[in-house]
Amino acid sequence: METLALQKEATTVQTTTTISGSEAVLKALLAEKVDTVFGYPGGAIMPIYDALYDYNDRLKHILVRHEQGAIHAAQGYARVSGKVGVVFATSGPGATNLVTGLADAMIDSTPVVCITGQVFAHLLGTDAFQETDVINITTPVTKWNYQVTDATEIPSVLAKAFYIAGSGRPGPVVIDITKNAQLQMFEYAGYKRCEHIRSYRPKPIVRKEYIQQAAQLINGAERPFIIFGQGVVLGKAEKEFLRFVEKSGIPAAWTIMGMGAIPTDHPLAAGMLGMHGNYGPNLLTNECDVLIAIGMRFDDRVTGRLDKYAKQAKIVHLDIDPAEIDKNVKTAVPVWGDCKETLPLLTELIEQKVYPQWLQRFKDCQAKEDQKVIQNELHPAGDVMTMGEVLRNLNELTNGEAIIVTDVGQHQMVACRYAKMNNTRSNVTSGGLGTMGFALPAAIGAAYGDPSRTTVAIIGDGGFQMTLQELGTIMQFKPNVKIMILNNQFLGMVRQWQELFHQRRYSFVDITSPDFVQVAKGFGIPGQSVSDRKDLRSALETMINADGSYLLEVMVGKENNVFPMVPQGRGVAEIVLGSDEV
């Protein structure tokens, strides 16, 4: 017995090795199959960067130009690849620069793990150089965060971080590691992935009775309507969703975050919901008898005035996050669970149906919108170029196969209204937080997330100036990003509101821009600016066919507005098609 015990001890000794906390961080990333890290070094994270020097062959590190760029890139990477995005940043300002991205990832449920350096544990709370209370600053904008002060915790904490970020309703996680823990040598016994935390329930248990009740409601409906959000994409349930839609024969409209989960030209695709969504989906929300909401959270930009929202409808809400059920809109049947599990169960119980008359209502609305808005936007009669016609030309060149990354504002709404998408994970935008400056770094991340596809970043002249330093990242690491600036020489969305609701008092929306083509040139990125329609098509072709990154600036109408619009404070059925109706 004694020898056996000794032998056993001997084998365990052989399986552990002495490594530093920093090396344990990198081993954890490799075990989690991370291939790309976006980051920026600094004093408190130097030991990790020192270890990275030896891991450079296995782990790609993209040096961004600002930590906000790192986290947006990680978001873009995660949204396109379906994997967890990873960020390195130093303590203090490095960490606080992540906050906007964390808030963005939190509200758009993007899986990101940020590893921040922190001052030595013995200096915590002493106002040391570059010390900031990262854990408390990031608590409201993280799904989970944790400070590591001892290296032995690193493997298990990182395993938890990846599990929490990627499971259930995904979200951002911050792991703050003090410098002493990064330097500390310890007995490393290998990495074990985390699969269960007793206090954490990523997926509520599916309850069959609710599935049955939902199916009953759907089968008895005369005018059912599906509205879906990013939950379908996050649950990797696109196929299950498509089968549900096709068997049910019910028209399906998407939130901005759900866009692309089914092809945008699918016969049952009803268009986009929300403030600048399509006419039919908004109007008919208040005419359907059963509203089936899947993986969406009834954001105020989708619902308009809540007391005028779908009051006539019985609402079935499928969501993985029980806190979303009944949060904004009262449901008749709450279907808790991962839609990858609940949708097939529901599809099995529903009858195969078609609703020709009901679908005709959507077609009639579409025709009205075509005539009043879309025709003029896609094929303008005047000389001034519209954002819509740029999108139409882009669609014709990319055939709906490109990844479209958008910033925030008018161009975002126009892009999401008119872009064609055949594939899921094609739409990367800041939906919930509305973060200007998101697109350029997110597009860099998207290009690494799926290098096989063309990534087009559509950005306004305002938003581009918020993070244009990331052109430096493109210059150095050469991800293939097609940058398209739709320049209306205004902060267009704010200007539109000032025009419509503030008596044209244009308060600080007149923004001047540098010569973007010259700026790009300074970063070694070719580009051109187009202000004449006759040059648009060939310029877009040049951009798409360029060997690497390319910047195309298109001068569009200065005071064009985005319609339709559900003005703030009104119900979805009060959607207007032009400024004459506001």
């Binding site: 608590t139 206090s199 509520p204 248990i205 029980p322 009944d326």
Partner: protein
């Protein structure tokens, strides 16, 4: 729906920073916490928060869902005052000479069930355990007699209908349901499925 007093009981892991995570759920919505107490629970290693707020049931239900969403929270319950047995502890510091001189004070203290915790030459500290209105009443009574200091603890509450957290915890420690959702053994037993 009108506002009333609710006592929220939260079972959690014992984790640094969790108090902040829970507190900001209230402050973000501009909801005042009337009383907050943290303590161990009936289960070793499981922590228990007792939070009192004045809100409508709908708001309280949503708050509990947000609290349960936190990774390190096991479960949140909310109850009205009649569904719990609760106590708060209050301490009163009064000048000893007044106590000694005024017979009336002594009678008042007896009436309110106050116990002397410390008696010194200069001051005496009394304690009263009870409901809010009981401890409040004694403040008003003692004020004319030179009440020097007053402090009241957070509420602690026992849920009348609760069977304790041991069984619930076993359920949570039970592994996640398998791939086949329909094979879940709790599926048709509404009671055993954790609900919010």
């Amino acid at each position: 729906m009108s506002k009333q007093e609710y006592t929220i009981t939260v079972y959690t892991e014992n984790q640094i920073g969790l108090l902040n995570r829970i507190a900001i759920i209230f402050s973000r919505r501009k909801i005042n916490i009337d009383s907050l107490n943290t303590s161990p629970s009936e289960v070793d290693s499981v922590h228990r928060f007792t939070i009192v707020i004045n809100e409508t049931e709908e708001v309280v239900r949503k708050l509990c869902r947000q609290i349960e969403k936190q990774v390190e929270v096991l479960k949140a319950y909310y109850n009205t005052a009649d569904e719990i047995v609760w106590q708060e502890l209050a301490l009163y510091k009064v000048p000893t000479e007044v106590i000694a001189a005024e017979v009336k004070v002594e009678r008042l203290l007896r009436e309110h069930g106050a116990k002397a915790v410390v008696i010194r030459k200069d001051y005496t500290v009394f304690e009263v355990a009870g409901h809010r209105e009981e401890t409040d009443k004694l403040i008003r009574v003692l004020e004319p007699f030179g009440l020097i200091e007053f402090v009241r603890s957070g509420r602690v509450a026992i849920i009348k209908a609760s069977d304790g957290f041991h069984e619930k915890l076993k359920e949570f420690e039970y592994r996640e349901p398998g791939e086949e959702a329909i094979e879940n053994e709790y599926l048709d037993q509404g009671e055993k499925v954790f609900t919010m």
